[in-house]
Each structure stands twice: as C-alpha cells, then as structure tokens.
C-alpha cells in the first residue's frame, strides 16, 4: 500500500510537470463550459448541468487515454521499466499506483468544473440530486477510461498507439449501445449490458443504478487486472 501511494504521488507530480495534463484540462474546461452555457438544449428552461455532463462523457472517453498513454509506454521506451521491475515492488502496486496518480488528475479536472453547479446555485435553485449522481457517473466513466488507457499503455512502447487503441476500445464500448437498437431484441439487450452509454443516462437523471456502478467498477477491475498481467508478461518475453 505504501509503495502504491509513493508511485501514485510520483505520477501525480510528473503530471504537474508535463504540459499534457494542463492541455487536457484546459480543453476539457473550455468545451464543457461551452456546452454548459451555450449549446445546452435545456438552457434557461431548467437549472441542471446536463449540457456539461453530455459533453463531459465524450471528452473523458477521448482525453482519458491521452492522460494515461504515457504511464507505461514511456517507461518501456525509456528503459525505466527495468528499474520498476527490479526494485522490490509488486506489479500490481505499479499499476495501481499509476492508476491512482491519473485518478488524482481526473479528480482535479472534475473539481475545476464545480463552478458550473455553483453558478446554478447562486442564480437559481437546482436539484442537488442529479448533480451529485451526474458527477458520480462522470467519475466512474472517467476512471474506466483511465483503466483502459493504462492497459493499452502497458502493451506497447508507443504512446500514440496506446492512446489510439484505448480510444478505439472506449468508443466501441460506448457506441455498441446505440447499435443494440438495430439488433434483435434479446441480442440487443445482452449487448446493451456491455455498453458504456447504457448506464450513463440514469446517472444524469439522478438515479444511482447499482448495475451501472457495478458495470463501471468491473470494467475498471478487468482492465487493471489485464494491465498487471501484461506487465508480468513482459518478463517472459
């Protein structure tokens, strides 16, 4: 646990020293801000953060992998993986540490958007329930996106490849939900269970669907597990 914390802290500091986290956060804030204020269909009709959430989902799918692509691919490329695998630290501690480090950036990113609901509270009377669950959903979805990004970063030494593959997986997981509508009902329903887009609307409406929570948590667990195995596997190359 101590090692995980030490690695997480190191990764967090690395983020603060490199431009990527700042760029990603800025773009995230700009676009969610625009959606929150201008393009939201709900503008002036309801005091909600739906516009921000809808934009946030897509942005997190695209930006999560940009944040994580460096985490292991760079270690592999620069040879520092040799350091990391020869000090007395478990592979799982390495992966979890890096995951928590990137999670901290996600939290900062989401934290910076808290002024949207704050504005709503100042100028109106929003329902706090959907805001809270919306943030929870966004956090779960963002974490899943990071976990998938860490997995793809662990299988290559090329950061671009890591990011592209992760975005591919994420978009596929997101859009199969829409494809499910065109399929025979039973099949569509089964496929719908695996879709990221299937669960998010509930969170936006203010419902904490345990199926959704479990879905995101198990996706996270699965891909972190795969990342650990891929790290282990590099010893047997």
């Amino acid at each position: 646990m101590r090692n995980t914390r030490v690695i997480a802290l190191k990764e967090f500091k690395s983020y603060l020293l490199s431009p990527m986290a700042y760029i990603v956060t800025s773009i995230f804030l700009i676009f969610t801000g625009i959606y929150f204020s201008v393009f939201s269909p709900a503008i002036y009709f309801e005091t909600s953060i739906t516009g921000f959430l809808e934009a946030g989902v897509i942005l997190l799918l695209l930006f999560g992998p940009l944040l994580t692509m460096r985490l292991l691919a760079e270690e592999r490329k620069m040879g520092t993986l040799e350091l990391l695998l020869t000090i007395p630290v478990r592979d799982s501690e390495v992966i979890l540490g890096k995951f928590l480090g990137s999670l901290a950036i996600l939290l900062v990113m989401l934290g910076l958007t808290l002024y949207y609901p704050l504005l709503l509270t100042i100028f109106g009377d929003p329902d706090p329930g959907p805001i809270f669950t919306g943030y929870l959903g966004l956090f779960l979805l963002g974490s899943t996106s990071l976990a998938i990004g860490i997995f793809t970063s662990s299988i290559t030494s090329n950061q671009i490849v890591a990011a592209v593959v992760a975005i591919g997986i994420l978009l596929a997981l997101y859009f199969i939900g829409f494809a499910a509508a065109f399929l025979p009902e039973a099949l569509g329903e089964v496929i719908g269970f695996f879709s990221m887009s299937n669960y998010f609307p509930d969170f936006m409406r203010g419902v904490i669907d345990t199926r959704g929570v479990i879905y995101y948590l198990s996706m996270m667990g699965l891909f972190l597990f795969l990342a650990i195995r891929s790290l282990e596997n590099s010893r047997w190359s």
Partner: protein
C-alpha cells in the same frame, strides 16, 4: 550469495543463455566477461528479476529469483547497462523515490543520500534534473541509486562504458571499496578492468560459460599454446607462408613486418624460425616469447564468435 543452476533463456527462437551454472560466494567480486550479445545482460536481468528464465533456477542471497522475487530483489542493488532514469526528477527526488520503494524510511534515506552523494561525487548536482545531466553523471546517479540501500549483492552491467577515463578509475576504485562489504557481479567487455577490480572471472560466450576461474589461474586454461613475436625484413606473404610450414606452428598473423606466431607448448620453434628465415634470405630483426595476457586468453576462448561478430 548468487547461485545459478542450469539457467536457460530463449528470446522466442533465439537462444540467449544456454544452460549455465555458477556460484558466487559472499564477499567475492566476480567479473562477468564476454563479447557483446554473449548473454551477460540476459543473465543479470534474470538475477535481478527483470526477466524470467525459460528453464533453470537462480538464487540471490538465498532467495529464489522467481518464487521469492520480492525478497531477492530487496537484497540486490542493480546498475542497468542503459542507465535508465526519470529525466523529470531531480537527482535527490529520483534517488529518494527509488530508495522509498526499496522500503527505506525517511531518516535513513536522508543519511544515506549524503553518503552516496559523497561517494559518487554528486554534491553540485543533487538538485539538478536527471534529464539535464551528461551521460557520465547519469551513470554516477545510476550507481548512487544502486548502493543507497547498502545491498548484500550488487549487480552492475557495464558500469564503465561511455564515461571519461578519470571517472572510469573512480568507478573502479568504488567497486573495490564496495567489495569489502558486499558481493559484486560486474559485467564488462573491457579486459583490463577485470584484472584491476575482480578476483574471479566468468567468461561467457554465445550463452555458454567457456571459462570460470580465479584470474591468476586463467592463463593455465590456454597453457597449450606459446606465443612469439618477431620482426622480419622480407616479403610478407612469403615469410608468413614459410612460418606456417614450420612444425608445431598453429597460427601466424602479421601487421607490416611484425609477425605473431603461436605454437603448441611442447615445441620451441624458435630455432626453426631462425633457420627458415636464413634459408629464405630474409633478415630476422627480433624474436621474443610473449606472455599470454588476459586479453589473449579472452580472444582465444571466444575466437570463433569474434570472427562472426566482425561481419
């Protein structure tokens, strides 16, 4: 302290280490000698837990490198050949980071950092980003992180490659000093280094151990050969041809008017060399017997490989 038994490593189809076994006792400084791609780095990477062997077993400080990997890694300090380091950290934070992950507490790290900075002469660079350092200084940082936890076993992969001569001698002295308290396995293809720093040498070639002995005993390994150096005034081709014909001569090589002749130990071809030169009407300017140096032994033992790798 280090025990290797029937270790084999394949990279896909390519055999890198072929069924090697050796033992290193506590407190020994052992040189791991071999040409490039001989299997030195692979063996070291298996010992340090970076790679898993295809077959065979290895123990470091009594711990199996596979089944007790964490314990084994805890007792090792490792200097990797490529000197991997995080460029975005300062020397201090980099060393502290690795030391913390090695389980050292704050107070001990603080004390030891002062020690290793002193040993490796890093005083002025302690707060410089590692990425800004020259290769030589990165190398020192690499050594500093490998010894900060006072490991029982120190594994160093070519620690003196690519640095200036002054630092090379500093590094060698450092290895000697460290050897008082810990067991050291150091790989190199620089021969004088081995005779300067090590007590024992393991020569590896194409994944096989071709020789393993104390340095002073090694020459007996190739005692089947004697070597002579001569200088002759005459047509090179004809002279070397004549030299080859002499009984007992196994090898002739030349550069300009200098010739090197090897013969079997039982024969002394010097009289016959003289005769042949006179017969050919050439002038023998000098003729001397040459002691085999570690370099010669090494070349002898790895001769085939050298020729291949020249291509």
């Amino acid at each position: 302290m280090i025990r290797v038994e029937n270790l084999t490593k394949y990279y896909g189809e390519r055999l890198a280490v072929n069924n090697i076994s050796f033992n290193i006792e506590k407190g020994e400084i052992v040189g791991f000698l071999g040409p490039n791609a001989a299997g030195k780095t692979t063996t070291m990477r298996i010992l340090t837990g970076y790679l898993a062997p295809t077959r065979g077993n290895a123990w470091v400080a009594g711990y199996n490198v596979l089944s007790q990997s964490l314990e084994a890694r805890r007792s090792i300090g490792y200097f990797a050949e490529a000197v991997p380091s995080y460029g975005d950290m300062t020397v201090r934070s980099y060393i502290t980071y690795l030391a913390t992950l090695r389980g050292m507490d704050k107070a001990r790290i603080k004390k030891r950092i002062d020690d290793v900075v002193d040993i490796c002469h890093l005083e002025e660079y302690i707060d410089v980003f590692v990425g800004r350092l020259s290769k030589g200084f990165r190398q020192r940082v690499g050594i500093a992180q490998a010894i900060i936890h006072e490991p029982e076993v120190l594994i160093m992969d070519e620690p003196t490659v690519g640095i200036d001569p002054r630092q090379v001698s500093m590094t060698r002295q450092l290895i000697k000093d460290l050897g008082k308290d810990c067991t050291i396995l150091i790989s190199t293809h620089i021969l004088p280094e081995v005779s300067m720093t090590c007590e024992r040498v393991i020569i590896i070639h194409e994944g096989n151990i071709v020789a393993e002995d104390r340095i002073e005993n090694l020459s007996s390994l190739v005692s089947g050969t004697r070597r002579f150096r001569l200088e002759v005034e005459g047509p090179t081709k004809a002279v070397s041809e004549q030299l080859r014909k002499i009984e007992g001569v196994t090898k002739v090589s030349y550069a300009g008017s200098q010739y090197t002749v090897e013969s079997t130990a039982e024969q002394d071809p010097r009289g016959k060399i003289n005769e042949a030169m006179v017969k050919g009407g050439w002038t023998l300017l000098s003729l001397e017997s040459v002691e085999m140096s570690l370099e010669d032994i090494f070349l002898k033992l790895t001769a085939e490989e050298e020729e291949e790798s020249d291509q």
